[in-house]
Symmetry: C2
């Protein structure tokens, strides 16, 4: 093991400029394809029409084809008769060729046909070429249909075919080969019965392939290669000798003892960048081997994706002659402080929604290893290297990861966590319009504060008042005095001790937490569950200092259950559905009420009303009851403040 | 032939509501696919994780795995020695499983290794679980990864695989079958040597298929079916008996004698809508046959595309459980009046650009038959049925058809037309960043007015002052007094008479326009070419009244050439390159200067400078000279005002 040293550490901008400049002349080759299949492709040169459209003079209306000069003089006073039997006037449908010698069309609505069908009366003249679509009115043979570098859209296919171009020259899709490396990686397939100890499911290659395909490339994922200098080198050389336009090696891009990529590309070509001052994404390698771009991406999924999007996707666009797409961004108010290390540009995943007139952005966890920080995010905050973070309440620019309309439909839910919120989200998404429910958890008291600050649409809360056994109301009166807050009960639920299968420590009540060697995992301060624990301790005259692990805390019921499952703790206080979900046992302690708190001003909005309607449905309530540990006897009822 | 009668004519909103409501419960079926290939698909139900991630406690840093309790008490004053040889501390790389009995990692940077490798000195304690990625930190087995109706993005694939979902249930792609109908249609292929008289290349099906595919559907185009009631009916029934989810018949959707679609679907099912008060797109049929949506789309390409996007694309989204996408719109100043018929909602194709701080929108032609009005457009103006149009200078909302960044790079070029502008566009698009050049033609004087009104970035002009033989300068001084306008010469070019191959009327000079029966096609008032003609007539003491067709006009050189090619006129005045393009002959009359006029305030912008640089290159100038009829001796030079 050695200290990690990046010899070419650069800022994102420096790295992008260096990498792209090196390959500024690199374009994929050309190929001829059928115009019918050309949507989404990029023209390799100017495309000119072979035929004119229309290719003949045609009727633009249903009516009579005539020679305009023979209609002159017709008026209401002096109607003019045109002969149909001699061919002086000829019936014609829209789109049909104008007969030889005719140069105008009289609309059928302006014609009085004789009963014998031999003549027609008109009451106004037509001028030459009236209601005639002339040759070349749309497209003139030889004219430029599309310039070089045009990104073909569906209607363009119509112009190509109409202009007589059955095929055209386009840029070949760049072929991106992704090489997953690592001894710890296993491939997920239907047969895999479980994850062997110490192994990790290889997932980055499919993500990187999807991103490359969205960028217009053809992506190929090679088999997993072991962490072995010679094996990776041989595989890279083989890939380059085939027809790869760009190669990605993932991972091994850092500077540790088993990180081979940088040494391999150094030996075979030129390392342009090793290490970028971005977080996540620092251990990125940008190199040129045999004048092809070779990229080493970090192993953590978020790092790999961010580095892919920052460095590779724009290069793929350039190779195809496509304009770089720019993210849409909105100005949003930060729901919490976002500290950041100076010297590193940080990409923080955010959940955004619009609360009233203002976009609000809630930061998700930092961890580059947590793919769910990306899948849950709908926006990205970039904190420049010179900043040490941003403060709660500040307006910041957030790049959107989804269409803005989806952000505007997103319901920001915070406060306490309950598993039925996932079910509620699923029901909300089945509706039309779909309202995504984005939950972030800060505990019940944190939720009340978020409502006070206007940072959410609703908050879950189960704060017990020991004085009278009530839930939530006394806290709202205390912390949100005079404010219009509506309280809708979501569920009653059992709280109790989550214990391993079989309850090996035979925990049956709160006194058992003080048994010799028993380890506990707590919830964070301000959570309703911790309030409940403290209340039960006080009620029983017990001192928290005697509990091993009282100061170790987690933020959700599921995290407590995971701590018990993994042996980090013997037990923790939580809801029954969390124990059920992980196959753990549960020792009930108390039933409590869990409410949704909603600012009065938002209560009548479609998103809030969708929630209120859904939780009243028998379908929702039955599913909740089936989860175990819940009662829906008051679900959907409003609690008076 | 009969008057066209729509029995179910409705507004767009009524038609959409009726059609979508009828199929509100219609969803495509489900299928199981590989998660690796699921990007872009929509979940058919909630997706839960099978495995937790991480699936084991692992080191989050390179360092020493220890039991935290054994590090307590370590400080700068009292460094603590940990044994490596006994396994008290164990070297560990990031991502590796935490050895049994260990519960924390000390970063390698905070460790002093003994020379013998048997022990390590630390100067600070670690707390339990420090630098450890705990089981389930990212994903907890059983937790909801994605709700129903989730549109899967690349990073979601990572979460699916990491969560152990090798496959998942998604909505099947709707299968859309497109049936082109019409006796006049021929299929374009490489063998087609020309378009037979009266025939039209079938192009709509490929456009509609591309739109359907962009909407997430699988599209199948059937062979062309003749205009025959029985044939179309049989084909529709066969298609429905196979596995089509939605059928499009194109065209025959109007109410004429050979428009069979409405009668066929009336016989087989229910016509929900026939005729919509939109333009283009009026003859649209929305129907249900065997409880499947069957749509009759109009034959004109723009009509078909607009009706497809208004009615079919949203239904395809609903069938997949996808949210409807909403167009981005910007507020733009109208460069010209846009009259519109009351009672019809009109969709006008527009070219937009940003001139200074303001978006400017230039209307394109109305014709529903002209596909190029869509391929050239980057925005769409919707004029409500209650309006009779919009006035020049008004701010209107325009839906963007391309990314806003592309609109902001678009150069609005107006004034007179010259074929070298197409070449300039091609060169501009090859650059990075690419600046699309959007040309609309209003004649030289119209261009000067557009500059005055701030409605363009540049204008082509070749206005001859008969008094002194100068070009443009006297007009600018007159119409733009005191304004800062820069004049850059684009080309010198030959103007002359465009005549059919072989010059059958032996036109050799302006006097020949007065020969018996000779027909002429003029350019519009305000065009430099018409100014030139009038000047030559005056100079020769000739009277325009003696020219047959002097009052017939076209807006571009190519349109004049087409008029000559098609026999509409014997000759017209125009540039040599237009005659060359269509294989016509050319009788030179005079050489003139064609300049680009650029508002001074825009002269130093990147887009203008890109033009100035390109036209100075030998490559551009050589290509222009090769077109014939041009001299580049002063190209790129600035003319003093």
């Amino acid at each position: 093991m050695q200290r990690k040293i990046y010899l070419h550490m650069q800022s994102r901008q420096e790295a992008q400029e260096r990498f792209w400049a090196h390959f500024s002349a690199l374009k994929t080759g050309e190929e001829t394809i059928s115009s019918r299949k050309a949507c989404g492709r990029v023209t390799a040169g100017p495309v000119s029409a072979k035929y004119s459209s229309p290719s003949f003079h045609s009727a633009a209306m249903d009516g009579l084809a005539v020679r305009a000069e023979e209609t002159f003089g017709a008026s209401d006073e002096n109607p003019l008769s045109l002969r149909l039997d001699t061919g002086q006037a000829i019936m014609i449908n829209t789109g049909y060729p104008l007969p030889e010698g005719k140069n105008a069309v009289i609309m059928i609505e302006q014609v009085l046909l004789g009963a014998d069908g031999k003549e027609a009366l008109i009451r106004a003249p037509v001028y030459p070429w009236q209601h005639v679509r002339k040759v070349g009115e749309d497209i003139v043979a030889t004219e430029l249909l599309f310039p070089t570098g045009h990104h073909l859209q569906p209607s363009d296919i119509g112009a190509l075919l109409t202009g007589g171009c059955a095929t055209l020259r386009v840029r070949r899709k760049p072929k991106v080969v992704i090489i997953p490396t690592g001894n710890e990686l296993i491939e997920l397939n239907e047969e895999l019965a479980g994850i062997p100890a110490g192994r990790i499911i290889e997932s980055n290659s499919a993500v990187l392939a999807s991103i490359a395909e969205e960028a217009g490339a053809e992506a190929v994922v090679s088999p997993i290669v072991a962490d072995d200098f010679a094996a990776i080198k041989a595989h890279l050389l083989k890939t380059l000798s085939e027809d790869a336009d760009l190669v990605i090696i993932n991972a091994g891009s850092s500077a540790g003892s088993s990180d081979y990529t940088v040494r391999i590309v150094e030996e075979l070509g030129e390392v342009l960048v090793h290490g970028v001052t971005i977080m996540p994404g620092k251990p990125t390698i940008l190199a040129a081997v045999q004048e092809k771009p070779v990229v080493g991406l970090p192993g953590y999924p978020v790092s790999a994706i961010i580095a892919m999007e920052q460095f590779v996707v724009p290069l793929l666009a350039k190779m195809q002659g496509l304009a770089l797409s720019q993210p849409v961004s909105v100005s949003a108010q930060l729901a919490r402080d976002v500290p950041s290390s100076a010297g590193m540009e940080e990409f923080r995943r955010m959940v955004l929604g619009r609360v009233g007139e203002q976009f609000v952005a809630v930061p998700l966890k930092k961890g580059a290893g947590a793919i769910t920080t990306l899948t849950r995010a709908n926006g990205m905050l970039r904190i420049p290297a010179a900043f040490e973070g941003e403060k709660q309440g500040r307006l910041v620019d957030i790049d959107l990861l989804v269409p803005q309309a989806e952000v505007e439909r997103t319901i920001l839910c915070t406060g306490s966590h309950d598993l039925t919120l996932d079910l509620l989200n699923d029901y909300l998404r089945r509706q039309e319009p779909a309202f995504p429910l984005a939950s972030t958890h800060v505990g019940s008291l944190g939720g009340i504060m978020a409502i006070k600050d206007g940072m959410c649409h609703l908050a879950g809360s189960h704060l017990l008042d020991p004085a009278d056994g009530s839930y939530n109301t006394s806290y709202i009166r205390k912390y949100l005095p005079g404010e219009d807050v509506r309280i809708i009960t979501l569920v009653h639920r059992e709280q109790g001790f989550i214990v391993p299968k079989g309850n090996p420590r035979r925990i049956s009540g709160i006194h058992d937490l003080f048994a010799d060697g028993c380890t506990f995992i707590n919830r964070q301060a301000g959570s309703g569950t911790r309030v409940l624990l403290d209340y039960e301790l006080t009620r029983n005259g017990l001192d928290a200092d005697g509990i091993i692990g009282y100061n170790q805390d987690e933020y959700t019921h599921m995290a407590v259950a995971v701590a018990v499952l993994s042996g980090k703790a013997d037990t923790g206080l939580g809801i029954k559905s969390a124990a059920n979900a992980l196959g753990l046992d549960f020792v009930p302690l108390v039933e409590e009420r869990y409410d949704l708190l909603i600012p009065g001003a938002l209560f009548e909005t479609p998103m809030t009303q969708a929630i209120v309607q859904i939780i009243k449905t028998p379908s929702f309530q039955q599913t909740v009851e089936q989860m175990g540990g819940y009662s829906t006897r008051d679900t959907g009822k409003e609690v008076a403040l």
